[in-house]
Amino acid sequence: MSKPGSAYPLEKTEQKTETHTMSVLVDNEPGVLARVIGLFAGRGYNIESLTVSETEHEAHLSRITIVTTGTPMVIEQIKSQLDRLVPIHTVIDLTVLGQSLERELAMVKVAGKGEKRAEAARLAESFSAVVIDDSPEHFVFEITGEQSRIEEFVVAMQPLGLVEVCRTGLAALARGPERM
């Protein structure tokens, strides 16, 4: 079968993708998050996780932490594209820096009685999760840690009456005394 005619090249090249965590320092002004998200949506980049909050009140600065996947060329593009947005101060690729500190917080609601409830409490303790709400029929656990650890915990709760999960997304900082 002959290929359809097109004014554009149709073939796609398959390349290996990588996951990167980026830390972006922005002016805390209306619309800045929409600019960042719009850039990702408009150019077809992935967002695996996104965390935003004002971090320096006096300087009106917010920090956005984004986990994204793409080919090395796309990752470079994402950084350059972010960098040229007017209200963005700095873009740091923490994955390239290596060994950055990455944490996430999750709340995990588990409902159950008897043996399953006791097992959930026992497991939670071994994961260092904290009970922040409970009744004879449920627990809400708070767990903080690396993403992989949170995923393990959620999987462990699955057979024990997992109801729902809320995750904050990743917070990340580079190690060492320097500022980004």
């Binding site: 002959s2 554009y8 090249p9 619309g31 209200p87 963005i88």
Partner: protein
């Protein structure tokens, strides 16, 4: 306050259209005479006119439109300016702040809609921020890689009085585009250039945007090295087309010699161009054997589609100056022997005369029309704008530019209807020059209403229509790729362009035979009013040479290759792999 900010930014012309939400600013315009307002007939026209003004002067173009439909009509122009990196400030009216979000009459989320089609945008909620924001808007529009900036001003903010902030030279808090290139990279680049056996300069609109100085430096560097040079559609005029080192435009409808030289080169020096898909063709076949140097002010243009060996982020004017300095400091010499052989190869490609076409006596060939237009205007002070399509490519091939800022065309977005309003803007900036919009009959109807603007302000623009009654480029693609099934690309019931010109208080001229063409063109040039020139041309002419999409530079279709046989067959034989 808005007008004070415009005055401090050195603005003397503004293109706009009034409406409820900008009436306070229009009222201020009424009470002054230093700022000239050009009333367009559609907001898209205002933006294109400002683009034409900006591109032909190097200044920031300024637009003033109302809220809602005023802003949405401007979106095409803003996107066009973003794609072609044209500095604009577009002031939009907005409903009063207390009504924002209420679905008020003529309300739209202007900053939301224009966010992806501007370089930056602002909604000003406090009059005390207004002046600062306007100054910042001009700074952002013109610095780094230029682009359009929208400032959305609610009506209550327009009425309010507040503190005016003077223009300041202090650094922007977050936006700091690079200007000077990295010295080490430049040293490495000039070494690579000097050792090249088959070098080529590939330049683009970045040179034009970097100002006339960049063109001067480019000329110096290219002449000093003796290397061949080609350019994108956007970069025409940066290097004189009459020079012997000039290979013509490259890309999909570029010359045989330029594209083959790009394919076979060993060192490519890309300055202010961005490896667009119309330039590269098939990526895995794009100049496979070359080392590539890429100078661009926008880091995101580097390594976007094509891997580059030596990236240099900086303003072309500065980097070219640095390159010249580094070359001279190291006292580098080119490899004369290799260069001679390389020029020999290029001359061989040149001898193919890829732009040749079959002249006819009974019908005007579009290429011939443009050759004559060029010949009869070349000694004049002429500015060219175009619409989009075959005529645009022919104009790029057959009109030759020796100076920058003389050629205004919609390259990135490919906006049909760009040419007339752009010509209006150019003529406003250069009232005594000859401004010609090379047009197609389909494109030109998209913004024909701007003839009325030209008439109102005595702007003697010349609209030179290559009328083949088809959307020619669409027809060409349908012929090549869709089995000559001309789905909706023929315009029946076209207007009588001569009468149309007269209806718009202009002059209409029609040419149907090659023999009458010269006299009619001279008549057009001599007419001190807006002219629509209806040049009836061969309906079936195709624009060659052409790199079919999905093909590499060394696989071009040439006009005389295919003239002998059915063009549709030529493509299908090659297996449609090329599309």
């Amino acid at each position: 306050m808005v007008l004070q900010a415009l005055a401090d930014q050195g603005v003397d012309h503004i293109f706009g259209y009034p409406g409820g939400a900008v009436l306070p600013i229009y009222d201020e315009l009424f009470q002054q005479d230093w700022l000239k307002h050009i009333l367009v007939r559609h907001e898209q026209g205002a933006v294109h006119a400002a683009e034409g003004y900006a591109r032909s002067t190097g200044k920031v173009g300024v637009v003033l439109v109302t809220s809602g439909p005023g802003a949405t009509n401007a979106v095409t122009g803003l996107t066009d300016a973003l794609m072609d990196s044209i500095p604009l400030v577009c002031i939009t009216g907005q409903v009063p702040t207390h009504l924002i979000g209420n679905d008020a009459f003529q309300e739209c989320d202007t900053v939301g809609i224009t966010r992806p089609c501007t370089k930056h945008n602002y909604l000003v909620r406090d009059v005390n921020d207004l002046a600062k924001v306007l100054h910042e808007a001009f700074y952002v529009a013109r610095s780094g890689r230029p682009g359009p900036v929208v400032v959305d001003i609610p009506k209550d903010v327009q009425f309010a009085t507040g503190i005016y902030t003077e223009v300041s030279n202090s650094q922007h808090k977050s936006y700091r585009p690079a200007t000077v290139g990295d010295e080490d990279a430049i040293a490495e680049a000039v070494e690579l250039m000097a050792n090249a056996k088959r070098p080529i300069f590939y330049t683009g609109g970045g040179i034009i945007n970097a100002g006339p100085v960049a063109s001067e430096r480019l000329r110096e560097l290219v002449r000093m090295t003796g290397y061949p040079i080609t350019s994108t559609l956007m970069g025409l005029g940066a290097y004189p087309a009459s020079d012997k080192q000039w290979l013509g435009m490259l890309g999909m409808h570029g010359t045989f010699e330029a594209n083959n030289a790009m394919h076979d080169c060993d060192v490519m020096i890309c300055i202010g161009a961005r490896f667009d898909d119309r330039i590269t063709g098939r990526l895995d076949g794009f100049s496979p054997g070359s080392k590539k140097i890429h100078v661009d002010i926008d880091r995101s243009s580097i390594n976007k589609t094509v891997h580059v060996d030596i990236p240099i982020v900086g303003d072309c004017a500065y980097v070219l100056e640095q390159m010249l300095g580094a070359w001279k400091a190291k006292n580098l010499k080119v490899d004369e022997v290799a260069l001679k052989t390389w020029w020999g190869e290029i001359d061989h490609w040149r001898a193919r005369k890829c732009l040749s076409y079959k002249m006819r006596d009974d019908v005007i060939m579009p290429q011939y029309a443009l050759e004559r237009l060029f010949a009869l205007t070349r000694d004049k002070d002429v500015y060219i704008t175009t619409e989009v399509g075959q005529h645009q490519m022919w104009a790029a091939q057959f009109l030759h530019f020796d100076e920058p800022n003389r050629w205004m065309t919609s390259g990135g977005l490919g906006t049909m209807g760009y040419g007339i309003p752009a010509a209006v803007g150019v003529q406003v900036a250069h009232p005594d020059s000859l401004v010609i919009d090379v047009a197609g009959e389909a494109s030109v109807l998209m913004t024909m209403q701007e003839m009325s603007t030209a008439a109102q302000y005595d702007l003697p623009i010349k609209i030179f229509i290559l009328n083949n009654q088809y959307m020619g480029m669409v027809r060409q693609w349908q012929e090549l790729l869709h089995g000559s099934r001309y789905s909706h690309s023929y315009s029946e019931a076209l207007p009588d362009f001569v009468k149309l010109a007269e209806a718009y208080q202009g002059v209409g001229i029609r040419a149907e035979k090659p023999s009458e063409l010269d006299d009619k063109i001279l008549e057009m040039i001599a007419t001190p009013k807006p002219v629509i020139f209806d040049c009836r041309v061969d309906e079936n002419a195709n624009c060659f040479p052409m790199i079919p999409s999905g093909e590499a530079h060394n696989n071009m279709l040439l006009g005389d290759d295919v003239a002998e046989e059915d063009i549709g067959n030529v493509i299908s034989e090659t297996g449609k792999v090329m599309v």
